[in-house]
Amino acid sequence: MEKLDFTFRCSGERVESAAVSVLVGVVSSGNLEVFIEKGGDPSCCRVEVATSHGGFERAWRTLFADFLFQYDLSGYAIWINDAGAVPAVVKLRLHQAVEELMEKGR
């Protein structure tokens, strides 16, 4: 198990939602759960990852930098439990989470 902790300054499309939190995905082989919750520093987005596959810190960092360049999730925290998802699946889940967050809070 490896725990990673990042903080990002965001740019891009501002995510506005009345919903407090959203959970998508399931922790199972090659999959992950993404939990996004409102709270914390309003000027940035905090990301915490627990992954069964260590040694990919740079890949995670690049992925989030890219995603948070697209969506502005300042004032939110992203929590991830990962069981070895490939980057494409991680990206998919993050998009799904943001989409559900916006839909839920409409």
Binding site: M1, V20, S21, L23, V26, V27, S28, N31, E33, F35, E37, A50, T51, S52, W79, N81, D82, A83, E103
Partner: protein
């Protein structure tokens, strides 16, 4: 159609929260002790296995056609939906709260292989707590509806628990049983059960077969709407556990065993039930299948032939009987099962139990339940002592074909009925107490006592290592620091699984006499586990669920 104009997902493909969102009235689901709590799971962390924020189960309340219902949905994709300490405590906490608040029904969306081996004994006790809480909830008048339609099915302890519900709804994908095909193949060999033969797996455990033999009450399409309307229809049909219903259940189960014990494949059973072309059953659509099954479901009336062939009464009675009951006993010991009466502290008591590290099969389970029912009928209020020495349940395709989990659930219901009728249940573990067989009677005791040297748990460490793919060495090392993995009665006691340990040399008959004077009938295992430091999360989580119910539902 939902707001995005998409079709709702199939029941078998949806995850726990999707299921609840579609099954309940739109937007009505309120989750208790949800993922926001992010309760860390120390057992999985110790094994380097990633945890999940909800520990694989969503519990909460919602509306079904305008009636308030409580519900729990297991996340099959997360470690096979298996029950660990937090997972079990979330469900137990909600079941206990439901007993006070009396919602219209309790819906249990089951998708689980049973005990989470990564949490071994903590999971075993967790399932036992769920069983007691569920049977108590039923007794309080709230109907419990089990739904099995996901990929994991309902196996092990969850297979028993499913059959403790008032009603079971299944679809074609759902599987219900005790030992899964993989376990049977692993232990008994591929000749017993070829776990790669998917058609045979579904013929044995699948929804259609379970419906035909009476293990499932409702067979529906793989759609959320079908499950939803079936649940709504069953909500008003509460079934009570009474002496009459249990007597009828005993006769039905004996009838099923008598009629189909010689069958080696489900198709023989279907033919015996009067289905002309059994080979076509698995191809039939739901509507066609229900038409074919109409009037044929269930069991022939009378048992055929003797229930148990073979060995007569054993000449030597186990030493434990003489040690516990020096004042005398009239116990019959036959094929590993003890039934009878004994005298303890000048008082007559009923005895059921197992001996010789036996594995419990269907006729043995039936004899145990018959003795419990006979005791309730003929000797109101007489304490029942359960002597536990069993190495597990019979692992065979035939036992699964007949639904051995349903027989175990019946035994549990009989014990529940005995407790509710004022019988004190005391368990004494004096040999092995392993897995499903332990769940089906010993763990149902008001108090459980152990004699030193007894072996308790889910399964052997070597088997556990095979299933979890964690080396036996690592498991053994963890056992040195964590009571959850460690074998032996002492560690089981730290988890709150048993009351106390009696030393082999001690005056066990005095200890039993004292145990029979204990008046407490509440399930104290969570509190004991927390006080003794072996299982600290269960109580906290159950209390958290209860606090959430109080807060959310008073709004």
């Amino acid at each position: 159609m939902n707001s995005r104009g998409m079709r709702p997902p199939l029941y078998s493909c949806a995850d726990a929260r999707k299921l609840l969102a579609h099954l309940l009235d739109q937007g009505s689901f309120i989750e208790f002790c949800g993922p926001r709590e992010r309760i860390a799971n120390p057992h999985l962390a110790a094994l380097n296995v990633p945890m999940s924020f909800d520990d694989g189960v969503a519990v909460g309340a919602g509306m079904l056609n305008g009636t308030e219902v409580y519900c729990a949905a297991q996340q099959g994709a997360f470690i096979g939906g298996a029950v660990g300490e937090i997972h079990g405590a979330k469900v137990t906490g909600l079941l206990e709260r439901a007993r006070e608040r009396k919602p219209g029904a309790f819906l249990f969306l089951i998708d689980s292989g049973g005990v989470r081996l990564h949490e071994a004994n903590a999971g075993l006790i967790g399932i036992s707590e769920m069983m007691r809480a569920l049977l108590d909830l039923r007794a309080s008048g709230v109907p419990c509806i089990g739904m099995i339609g996901g990929r994991e099915g309902a196996f092990g302890g969850m297979g028993i628990l499913a059959r403790c519900c008032d009603h079971v709804i299944m679809n074609e994908h759902g599987r219900l049983g005790m030992s899964g095909p993989g376990v049977i193949e692993n232990v008994m060999g591929v000749e017993e059960f070829d776990a790669g033969d998917r058609a045979m797996i579904w013929r044995t455990y699948g929804g259609k077969h379970r419906y035909l033999i009476g293990e499932a009450d409702c067979f529906v399409d793989d759609s959320l709407e079908a499950f939803r309307s079936a649940a709504a229809a069953l909500m008003s049909a509460r079934t009570q556990i009474t002496a009459q219903s249990l007597g009828a259940g005993q006769r039905d189960l004996e009838g099923r065993y008598g009629a189909f014990r010689a069958c080696t494949d489900a198709m023989e059973i279907w033919r015996a039930l009067g289905i002309e072309r059994p080979e076509e059953v698995q191809l039939l659509s739901t509507a066609d299948f229900l038409r074919v099954a109409a009037g044929r479901k269930g069991v022939p009336a009378a048992p055929q032939g003797p229930m148990e062939a073979g060995r007569e009464k054993e000449a030597r009675s186990p030493a434990i009987l003489a040690r516990l009951f020096p004042a005398g006993h009239r116990c019959e010991v036959r094929r590993g099962v003890i039934t009878g009466r004994a005298v303890c502290a000048g008082r007559e008591i009923a005895v059921i139990g197992t001996t010789n590290h036996t594995t419990i099969d269907i006729p043995m389970s039936l004899r145990l339940s018959a003795h419990v029912l006979a005791t309730v009928e003929s000797a109101p209020g007489m304490p029942i002592v359960m002597l536990v020495d069993c190495a597990g349940q019979q692992l065979s395709r035939e036992a699964e074909l007949l639904g051995i989990n349903g027989y175990f659930a019946h035994l549990l219901k009989c014990l529940h009925h005995a407790r509710a009728s004022g019988h004190h249940l005391v368990s004494v573990v004096y040999g092995k107490a392993l897995s499903g067989a332990f769940l089906s009677f010993g763990l149902m005791g008001d108090q459980v006592y152990g004699i030193t040297g007894s072996e308790v748990g889910v399964m052997k460490l070597s088997a556990m290592a095979r299933v979890t793919k964690i080396s036996e060495r690592q498991l053994r090392r963890l056992g040195e620091t964590s009571a959850v993995f460690a074998p032996g009665m002492e560690n089981f006691m730290r988890l709150g699984g048993n009351q106390e340990i009696w030393t082999a040399e001690g005056e066990v008959e005095d200890r039993l006499a004292a145990a029979l004077r204990v008046a407490d009938r509440d399930d104290r295992r969570r509190a004991l586990g927390a006080e003794r430091g072996g299982r600290t999360l269960a109580r906290m989580v159950a209390e958290k669920v209860k606090a959430d119910v109080a807060r959310e539902m008073s709004r």
